[in-house]
Symmetry: D2
C-alpha cells in the first residue's frame, strides 16, 4: 500500500481524486493538505464524504511529506506546484501535477499564457506529460507527471491519429470546445452563478485560453511539425462533460470506414478510448463519471472535411482519473485499476 | 409621464423592474442608482440591456430625488431602505420597498429575524403591505409600499381564502416552499454555484427563514387570530419560479368543487390570480415571466386535508411585477398596465 | 460466482443494475432479457455500455432461467412480474422484483392503486419487503424480494424512528415528496419532455400516487397501528435524486440533540443511513450515484413539529442499489459489497 | 385590425406566435387551427394560456380562411404548407410559412434534404425569404413569406457582412451550431427526454441537417458566388437559445476594431442586430425571449481567422418573432412593433 497526499484539498480535482482512490487497492490517502482550511474536516465542506474522510486537513510540511508519502497529487491552482515540486528533487516521491504549471516546455509560453515566472527549467525537463495514449512508456519511468488539461486531453486524443496518419492537413485546424461548468472550479463567480449559467450558453476566453499553447505544443510534437490551431471555448449549462468538435481539411479521398479503422487501430491498446461506429456520435453523458474518451467521426464529402467529436468527463479523464491512470502506469499496476467503471447514465 | 428612480440598480429586482417598466406608458426610468457601481453603465454588467439603458448609474442624492422623481423603487438588500425611506417624509414621492425592511409591523420581530434595528415606528405605520389581492383599497391611498416577499406572496394567496372561509383549521398549517435560484440574488456564493446547484435539491434555512414572521403576521391579520405556520424552504435547480405546497386540516366535509368555487369567487376581481380546475395543478413555468399566481387545489378525503399549490414567478409577482402593480393602483391606472403579458412558455 | 438475469433490460432500473453489478465479485450478468428488443445489443441503445455489455438481449424463456440462473431481477413495468415470479415457485431461484407488483399485501389495495388483478396470494405471502433497515433478518432468509419504491424508501427511513420512539404523533403526518425525472422511466412523454421540464417544477399525481398505500402499509406495520399519511409528489428539473420532507407533531418536549441521538442509535448498524448533525441538511447531490440515505432533522419549537428530510438517489437506494443490497443479504455476503462507493459530487 | 389564423396550433411556433401577437395592436388572432386536436382548447394543453385563449381550435377550411382571414401563419411540420399555400393563389391573404417547405429554391435540394416532392414551382418563385436584414424591400412587397430556419438566421446574420465585404475567404467556412432543445419541437422522443438530455451535450444530424442547403443558398446569393459550408449541430441542455460559432479565413490584415465597425455599419438600419464591443461575446440568455440577434467578433491573429458568434432565441428571431417582423414590414407598420421588448434575464 502506497501512501498518498493530496495538496489543494478543497477543490473539485481533490474530491474527485478522493472518490476514485477509495476504489484503489494499492493507494491509500494519508494526508489531505489545505493551506486555507487546515484543521477543518473535508466532510464538513463536502457532506457527501461523511464516513469516508475522517481526518482533518493538514498544513503543508514538505519534510513530512518526503518522509511519509509515496505519491503527491497537486490539485492546486496555477502558480503553486511550480514552487513545490522542485522541493521533492532527489527523492522518490512521485509528483502528479494536475495544474498547468509544468505543461508548457517553453518558459516564455508559460509567462505569456499563464502570467508569472515559469517553473525551473530542470523541473520542466523532468516532468513527463501524462497523456498515456501518446506517452505510455515515458510515463512508466517518470517521477514527475504533468497531468494534461481537460480540453487538451479531448482535443489531442481526437486529432493526433488524423495528423499522424496524414488524413488531414496540418494547417487551419479548428477546434470548437464546449465544457461543463465544473471545469471552472469551486470558487463562486458571476460566470458560474447558477441563475446566469442555467439555460444559457456562453462563449468565453475567446483567443485567450491557456490550453491553446498546450494543444499546439503536443500536436506539434506528435508530428514533428509546428502546428497552430484556432480554438474556442463555450460554457455549457451542465456540471460535468467536455466535448471538442474538431475540423481538419482532408488530404485525399478517404471513406468514413477507412478513417474509423485507422482510429480503432491507433487506439487498440488503449483501454480508455472508444471509437464510435459510423453515424454514431458521443454525448458527454456517455462518459459521465468515467475515464473514457469517446470519439465519433464524420467525413464531410461535400466540403472535404474530417469532423472529429471527442467527449470526456472533464473531472475524470480530464483531471483526476487520468492522474490515477498515470500513477498506475508509474507503479507497474494495471493501467485501468480503479478506473474501469461504467459511466453513470442517465 | 412620471419619473422613476431605481435604487439598488445592479440586482435582479432592479433589472426586472427595468424590463417591465420598458412596457409602461406612464412611468419612465430617469435614474438608476448604485452606490457600489456609480458611473458604470448597467448594460456593461447586463448586456441584454444594450440599446435599452444608455445612461450611467448614479450615486444616491436624496435631495435630487425629491426634486426630480415621482416614484422610487428600493431594490436594495435588507437594512438599506429603512434608513432612506424616512428621508422622504413630508414629500409626495411614492416609495416602493422591495426589501423586507418594512414588512414586519412589530419591531422585535424585525430584530429577531433580520437582525439590526427596525425602521422608525412612524415609517412602519405609514407603510402599506403591497399585496393587492388583500389590500387593494389601502394601496390606492398609500405613499409608502412594503412590497411582499416572494414566499409570502405565494403562501398568502394560497391560504387566505381557505382560512377566511373557515375551510381549514387555523392550527398546524404546514407550508413546504420551493424556489428557483434567482431568489437568492446576484451575489455569487457556494449555495448558488452552478456545479453544486445544478441537478441538486437543497433544503435551506430550515426554521430560520425571515419570511416566516411575514407569512404569520399577514395570515393572522387576515383572520384576526394569531396563526403560526411550519414553513420550510427548498432550493430547486431552476432560475425562476416559486411554488408553495400548503397543507391545512379541513374543518368539515367539503368537496373539491366547492373549494374551487370559493377560491374562484374570492379572486374574481383580482386579475392576476388564476384558479385551476379540478385535477389540474400549476407548474412554475405556467407563470414564467408573468405577474400571475396560479393556484391548484386538492381535497384529500383520506386524511381530511386541503392541499394548496400556488405558483408564481419569484421575480415578477414575487418582486418587480407586484411592485409595478402597486404603483398602478396608487396612481389610479389600470392595475394590469404593463403586466398583462402571456407567460413565456416553454 | 452466481448467474444473474435481468428482465426488462432497456429501462433505467436495468442499466443501473448493470452499472453496479459490474463492481460485484459474486454476481455475473448472464442474460439480459427484453421482450420488445430481443436480439438487439444493449450498448446500441445505451452507448455508455460499449465494451461492457457484448451479448444481445434475449427473449424470455422461464425454463432456461430456472436451469441456468441463480438470481433474477425484474426491472419491469407494473403488471409483469406478478405473472412471472409465481412460475419460479419450488425452485431456488432468487427473485428480486423492482416493480410494485408485490409490495401491497392487500389485494384490494393493489387493484385500487395499480389497477388490474393482484399477484397470487401465495406469492404475496412469500415475498419479503426488501428494506434492509427494517427487515434485515427476514431478507436474509427470503427467496422473493419485493424491492421498495423510491418514495417509500425515503419516507419510511425518515419516519420510522420517530414513530417507533413515539417522538411524533401517528396522526396527521405530512410527506412532501420531490423527485428527479429519471424516476419516471425511459418512455418519452410530455411530462418528461426536456423543454417543458427544464426550469420548471411540477406537482403531479396529487392524491393518486401508488406509493401512498405502500408508505402507509409499512409505517403501520412498523408501529402496529393503522397510519394514514398525506403525501404529495413534485417533479424537480434534475435527473437523479429524491427528497422527502416529512412533518410530524411532536408528542412532548424534546431537543434536536435528543432526536439526532435517537436516530443515530436507531441506524447504528445500518451502513447506508447517515444522520446529519444539527443544522446540516442533506441535498440530493450528497448521495448522487450512491446507496446512501442521508437524513436531516429539525425540531420546530415554534409549532411543535419534527421536520425530517431524507435524501436518496432514486435509481440506487430507490431501486437498483437496494436490490443488490438485498441480494447481498440473501446470500450471506457483506451487505455493502459493490455498494460502498463515494457519491459523485459535484 | 387584421385577422390572423395560425395553422398548426399546438406546436411551440404557434404558442410563441400567440404570446407575441397578444402585444400586437394591428393583428388579432381569429382562428387557431389544428387538424389533430380540433375542438380542444389550447389552454387545456398549455395552461399558461388560461384567460388568454378562449376559443376552441378549429379544423382547416381553406375557403373560410380566404373569406375571413388576412394573415395566415403556417406553424406546421415540413410537408404541410407546400400543399396549402398554393390554394391561396390569387387572393390577398398573406401567407407566412414557418416551416422549411419554401426555403430552397431548387426542387432537387428539397427532395434531397427534406424528402418528398417540392412545392409547386410558381409558389417557390412567389415566396420571399423572410430575413429582413438581407431582404427588407422585397419583403415589403411580398404576399408569401418563407420564414428562415433558426440556424440559418443566426449563421447568415453572422457571416454575410464578412463575405460581402471580403473580410473572409468564401471557401472553407465552418459553422459550429449549438441549440436549445425547444428547436426540436413538442413531440416527445428519446432525443429530447429530460433524463438523457439534462447535463448532457449531444452532437446530432452531423452532415445531414436540412439547414445546410438553406445556409448555402442564401450565403451564395448574398455574394453571387457558390459557397459551401461545413456545418455541425449540437443539442445543448437548455430550453431556448441558439448560437453559431463561425470560422472564416481572413483575406488580409484587418483589426478587430475595423471588423466591428464594418458590422456596425452593415446593420445600422436593422434594429434587431446588436454588434458587441471588442472582447464582449453574446450569450444566449442575452437575447432570451427577444427578437435580437447579438453578434460578437474576434480576429485570431495567430491563425488568421475571423471568429463570429451570433446568438438568437430560436423561437423568436429564429421563428415566431421574425415571422411577425415580416408581417410588420409587409403591412407598412413599424418593423419593431410588438417585438421591441427587453430580453428576459436572468
Amino acid at each position: 500500500m502506497k501512501h498518498v497526499a493530496i495538496i489543494g484539498g478543497t477543490g473539485y480535482g481533490a474530491i474527485e481524486l478522493v472518490r476514485i482512490l477509495h476504489m484503489h487497492k494499492h493507494l491509500q490517502i494519508t494526508k489531505i493538505i489545505s493551506q486555507s482550511q487546515q484543521g477543518e474536516y473535508l466532510a464538513s465542506i463536502y457532506p457527501h464524504l461523511i464516513e469516508f474522510v475522517d481526518t482533518p486537513m493538514e498544513e503543508l510540511d514538505i519534510n513530512q511529506l518526503k518522509a511519509e508519502i509515496d505519491v503527491v497529487f497537486f490539485a492546486t491552482p496555477a502558480g503553486v506546484s511550480k514552487a513545490l515540486i522542485p522541493q521533492f528533487r532527489g527523492t522518490n516521491v512521485q509528483c502528479i501535477d494536475l495544474s498547468g504549471d509544468l505543461r508548457l516546455s517553453n518558459s516564455q509560453d508559460y509567462e505569456k499564457w499563464y502570467g508569472g515566472e515559469a517553473a525551473p527549467e530542470e523541473t520542466l525537463k523532468e516532468a513527463i506529460y501524462g497523456l498515456p495514449e501518446i506517452n505510455k512508456e515515458e510515463i512508466k519511468n517518470a517521477r514527475i507527471i504533468s497531468n494534461p488539461g481537460c480540453y487538451p486531453t479531448s482535443a489531442l486524443l481526437g486529432l493526433i491519429p488524423a495528423l499522424q496518419q496524414h488524413i488531414i492537413q496540418p494547417t487551419r485546424i479548428i477546434i470548437d470546445g464546449k465544457t461543463g461548468v465544473s471545469g471552472a472550479g469551486r470558487t463562486p463567480s458571476s460566470m458560474t452563478h447558477f441563475s446566469e449559467t442555467n439555460d444559457n450558453l456562453k462563449p468565453y476566453k475567446i483567443g485567450k485560453h491557456q490550453h491553446i499553447p498546450e494543444i499546439e505544443q503536443y500536436l506539434s510534437e506528435s508530428v514533428n511539425n509546428k502546428i497552430a490551431v484556432t480554438f474556442t471555448t463555450h460554457l455549457i449549462p451542465m456540471t460535468r462533460g467536455l466535448l471538442c468538435t474538431a475540423y481538419g481539411q482532408l488530404t485525399s479521398d478517404i471513406t468514413i470506414d477507412e478513417v474509423i479503422e485507422i482510429y480503432q487501430s491507433h487506439y487498440k491498446s488503449h483501454p480508455f478510448v472508444r471509437i464510435r461506429k459510423k453515424d454514431s456520435y458521443p454525448t458527454t453523458k456517455d462518459v459521465y463519471g468515467s475515464n473514457f474518451c469517446d470519439i465519433g467521426l464524420f467525413v464531410d464529402e461535400r466540403t472535404n472535411q474530417l469532423i472529429i467529436m471527442s467527449a470526456i468527463d472533464n473531472l475524470v479523464k480530464g483531471a483526476a482519473g487520468q492522474a490515477i491512470q498515470n500513477v498506475n502506469l508509474m507503479n507497474g499496476w494495471d493501467e485501468t485499476h480503479a478506473l474501469h467503471t461504467i459511466p453513470m447514465y442517465p
